[in-house]
Symmetry: C2
Subunit: 346 residues, 2 copies
Amino acid sequence: MANDIKTLNIAVIPGDGIGKEVTPVAQAVLEKASEGVVNFNYTNFELGAERYLRDGAILPDDELEEIKKQDAILLGAVGDPRIKAGILERGLLLKLRFALDQYVNLRPTKLYKGVTSPLANPGDIDFVVVREGTEGLYCGAGGAVRVGTPNEVATEVSINTAYGVERVVRYAFELAMKRKKHVTLVHKKNVLVNAGDMWQRIVDKVGEEYPEVTHDYLHIDATTIFLVSNPSRFDVILTDNLFGDIITDEAGAVVGGVGYSASGCINASNEYPSMFEPIHGSAPDIAGKGIANPTAAVLSTAMLLRHFGYDEIAERIDAAVEADIEELGSTQRSTEQVGKDILARL
Amino acid sequence: MANDIKTLNIAVIPGDGIGKEVTPVAQAVLEKASEGVVNFNYTNFELGAERYLRDGAILPDDELEEIKKQDAILLGAVGDPRIKAGILERGLLLKLRFALDQYVNLRPTKLYKGVTSPLANPGDIDFVVVREGTEGLYCGAGGAVRVGTPNEVATEVSINTAYGVERVVRYAFELAMKRKKHVTLVHKKNVLVNAGDMWQRIVDKVGEEYPEVTHDYLHIDATTIFLVSNPSRFDVILTDNLFGDIITDEAGAVVGGVGYSASGCINASNEYPSMFEPIHGSAPDIAGKGIANPTAAVLSTAMLLRHFGYDEIAERIDAAVEADIEELGSTQRSTEQVGKDILARL
Ligand SMILES: CC(C)[C@H](C(=O)O)[C@@H](O)C(=O)O
Ligand SMILES: CC(C)[C@H](C(=O)O)[C@@H](O)C(=O)O
């Protein structure tokens, strides 16, 4: 019997601030839920602001190579106000997404019973954003001349390829088949005509292979309206890297805060490890107090399990979290206590 | 006495759909409010979808030259679902903004008494978005190769200049001086490091000249959260062309719909005419029924008057609209009736 237990090698990057507090809770839930089915072999990587401030390292090549050998990555949160914007984001987070070709950035958005939405009439919110993760304006393909002078010019270049778009479009349609069978492409094709037109053509083409799935199109600006006025209209939102960044934060807000939102950076062809993380940041203001809510980190472990086909275990975690939020979501609890409460339901 | 009456030459572009219905109401309000102080000499330009469908013309050079000679432009709305996305937007709307160097896209956002916000606790919402209007991703500087093949690559290029950024930053600080003295720069400087860094440096530099004005910074994704969770934190939001497009629609949604939002595309150095328009579109679904709400179009005339220094008349229009919304905003009225009700208050 014991031979049937599978082992997954997990790179753990707790990161900074509350990342270090919520990640152990996530690991505990992952282990307990998977008992007898999957074992986890963790390798810790000390990456993030503290490491950078200590020895200047962001993501050394040899550590990246070690990470590549793992089956998946659990990430806490990365960031520190002492560090200039862009350094850790581009050197660590985005470097991982790009180096590991994590082309699907998956962000489920759900309004849980027991959570108060800022909307007066939120309705039944349950959609998934499929955000492209390796292209667009995130390529770092900009530049600047005459920096600091009155003649400075700074550019940012969005690179989009049919190869990169088609694979994520396909993922979105596959996902829609398992859900309410509707895909909404979000772009700004009336202005960004080159990239927008390509996205639309590829969606139309791939869509023909999924006759059961309907699809529509919304401009990014109109999308921000619908997320407030009628968020239950969405099932699968498909969009590019930057637009996905923007709408998933707004989506997190309408379901009561990013504290309940997890995210997967997925290499869906499994050449490299995928990465799972809460959407929230390192929250330096509450770090060290033991009061960070580990729910989103716990939800990210369910995404990890689903990625490896352990849907049943994932569902048990989701159900435990859902019950916990419904019953105790409005109470003030320590990080540890939320962990205990969720564990007790497994 | 009559000699003291000033004349303004106004290019009127009613455009399509409800644009044609709300514009005459706006003109009537403009005239009545300005009686004895300003006369308006209107020149109509038939531009928009219908013209394009009839003779293929979008914005002929000679008409653009005529428009350039006017003092300002009143625009209704442009757009028609029969026309491919991008054609009228880039050929007419954006062409006007760029050709007339309308570098300040000014979008006041206010929650009027009598309007229901979709937020449960909206608070006191009253801010202005100062959106750059002539640069960024709106330049049309992208391209594509191997279109329609699996090897297609499409790019979009955001061009940002210190010249272009500094003038709009200065405008935002000047505006803040007349308001609550706070500017929030919105960008994505942790990813778009070239442009973001330049925007931040210029804000810091110009900010030193306005010691009474405080300023802070938010990422675009975080901004979409605050617009839902705490919109009253904003006074003047300063941002680039694309981010401004996105957040003004979300902002319009949180104050109860873009039906109450007007917009000015302003050439603040007065070399070319500025353009004033409601934020809403041509709304083909309700066009021709006489039920479009002309409020946003009317508010755009107040912006026009303010642009020429007629603050007192502008305030009378704003006050009439405010009173109208507060008292009758929740009733079903025809376009004509709303116009009459507002006129009666002047
Ligand atoms: C930290 C930042 C680089 C990142 C992004 O923009 O993708 C974050 O906002 C996110 O959404 O994961
Ligand atoms: C119609 C479109 C080109 C335009 C824009 O993106 O600027 C509109 O959305 C706006 O906000 O005025």
